[in-house]
Amino acid sequence: MLTWIICLPLLAALLLTLVPRQNTSVIRTIAIGITAADMLLALGLFFAFDAAPALDGYKFVQRVPWIPSLGISYYVGVDGINLGLVVMGAIVAFAAACVSSEIKSHQKEFHILLLVMTGGILGAFASLDLFFFYCFHEFALVPTFIMIGLWGSGEKKNYATFQITIYLTIGALLALAGLILLYLQRPVGERTFDIVRMTRYFAENPIRAADQNLIFALLLFGFGILVSLFPFHTWAPLGYGVAPTATAMLHAGVLKKFGLYGLIRIALPMLPEGAKAWVPVLAWLCLGNILYCGWVAMRQKDLNLLIGNSSVAHVGFAFLGIASLDLIGVTGAVLVMVAHGFLAALSFGLSGYLFHATGTRDMTRLGGLLQQLPFIGTALVMALLAGCGVPGFANFVGELLVMFGAWKGSYSPHPHFYVAAVAWGGLVVAALYALRAIRHLLHGPTTEIAGEAQDATVWRRVPFVLLLASLICLGVFPRLLTDKIKASAEATLKFDSGKRPSPGLSVTAINPARK
Amino acid sequence: MTVGLQHYLVVSAILFCLGLLGVIVRRNVIVMYMSLELMLNAANLALVAFSRFNNNLNGQLLVFFTITVAAAEVAVGLALIVALFRKRQTTHVEDLTSMKL
């Protein structure tokens, strides 16, 4: 089933190569239909998950040896941690296919790339083999570059494409170096890229601390660059700023989560000592993401740049969840990943719609759009509010869990300081830029340029409704996912449990309560 | 000091460097090519000397091949230079820079 989910888009991409380029409607129909089918399959997977039999804690497992001499096999399977990501990816892919109608040139190539990207993303998340895990990601990454370069818009297109390409390549390569090092830690003959077996092996035979530190650093910064960890984040807002909508949705929403997923799936369970050594650094960098990028977002006049920066800020929460070295935090991180996937896709999708409706993303030139575009406006309001952590949306739950986890986490002598700063960033700074955007874009009198915009037709609403519904559904019933995450996280991650920082701050005086 | 192997070697080393210098400082392709012959000869000298002092004729045999190869190379090279000269009326290296950077 998983293999079908992965292969369906890839096969469809092959199929599309055979369709003559003039038949754009056929091409679009195939792309949308296939992604819809894929989404339904993924949803089926989601609902069949609980009942399915598990092998080593993974379900829907499929395994085909591929390069036995190197211990590489095609090995897919899901547990609670990647299930949500796979489903989210499939849903976002469908939404992205839906909004691709905005593409006016070379539709055929665009849709092929989109499908390839989808297949790659889903494959990366479903893989339980390190090598495939990495390959699928690369496989999805390249279409991203091409799509941004080819169909992107804006003056800075070339520079942005260049930047995103170089950045992500370097990040991926650093991570690859780390992964290979990890692979080599086992004695010759036993080496395997099988994540499950590696995890088990390294739990029993821990790697030397010095090696752990090195590998963790490589993975942290390699994956970190992929996820726009501060200060390697500048590619993200710019890249998304110029990217075509569907690409931005898929990349910011789904593909970017690959790095975070890698940290959770690989770095944390296999390199516990390295994690302990590096998370204090990571915790500081999170602040860079959440606070600093939040401030940067406050200054943006371009809606896409604002969303891009805020998306950078959001992944900071996932990083903090990872840095917390606490199961609550990690659960939260996974939830943030899924939630932000929907949210980023939604935001970029809406922003893309606005751009095509009004011809500009400059917020100073727009205003009062809520009157003109009630549906899109409302959806955008919801997206922006979800972004600043309003309950009812999945993001809130994730961020809450992250903060709870980080508060108790034993990663640093002053966890409370980070959480306080992060909460400030998430509650106040996020609200500042989100409301500012609403104020400029949607509220206030309607400007001339906004006056001619048309609201979305029913069909154009489908992707947005779907994404919003997913966000709200998970926000209201988080246990749909957290229960699954919880079980898997407990099974794979072992943190020094129970160590909680004492209240720590010494008492100067205790005033008797006046009563 | 009786003349030993190292004497020959030093001569060959100096000759080798002379040839190299020629390649670097002369601007006429033909002269450069002659300098290269000088370098090959230097290597030959070393080979013969080694052959003698190692009591092993393999070195001399390689010289034999080197000379043959050099001859063939010279033939081809000069033909090439002539062909180029016919086209460009020059053998000056500074005129042979239609491809660069």
């Binding site: - | 100096i14 460097c17 000379i67």
Partner: protein
């Protein structure tokens, strides 16, 4: 006596070598070629001193005789004039000299270590028969390859220098 001859031939070789490369009096290619002939001939002397008689003969016959004649022939054919002193930048000269000097110094310093050749005594006699035997047994394969090489060279020269190809 042999040592004296060595020094004479060595000095001649080097002197002529210098004159090939950097003749202070003439930059005419013909001069260079002539000095190259001289170098080769004096080197043949060195070969003789090393008891490589056959090679000495080959050196003179093939190199001085055939190769250098080819060179001279081409130079004459092309009617090459004296190399013009076009913008000879002293920079390139100095850096070139420095690079070559460095290589020379390094190589010479390495080679000039009598200790490393302490055990070696002059022994081999470059007898034609021995050479021939080796050539047609052990080195038969390279010999054949060289024949192929010569064929290639022939074909190449014809291709490159025919005035008009059919």
């Amino acid at each position: 006596m042999q040592d004296v001859f060595f020094y004479i031939f060595a000095a001649l070789t080097l002197l002529c070598g210098v004159l090939v490369v950097a003749n202070p009096f003439s930059r005419n290619p013909v001069t260079s070629a002539m000095f190259l002939v001289l170098t080769i001939v004096s080197m043949a002397g060195l070969f003789v001193l090393l008891h490589a008689f056959f090679l000495a003969a080959v050196q003179i016959l093939v190199y001085a005789g055939a190769v250098m004649v080819l060179f001279l022939f081409v130079i004459m054919l092309l009617d090459l004039k004296e190399e013009q002193r076009r913008s000879c930048s002293s920079f390139s000269l100095v850096t070139g000299l420095a690079a070559v000097g460095a290589i020379g110094a390094l190589v010479a310093a390495t080679v000039w270590q009598p200790a490393q050749f302490a055990g070696l005594q002059p022994a081999a006699e470059g007898a034609t028969k021995d050479l021939g035997e080796l050539l047609f047994t052990r080195y038969l394969l390279p010999f054949e390859v060289v024949s192929l090489l010569l064929l290639v060279a022939m074909v190449g020269v014809i291709l490159l220098s025919k005035k008009d190809l059919k």
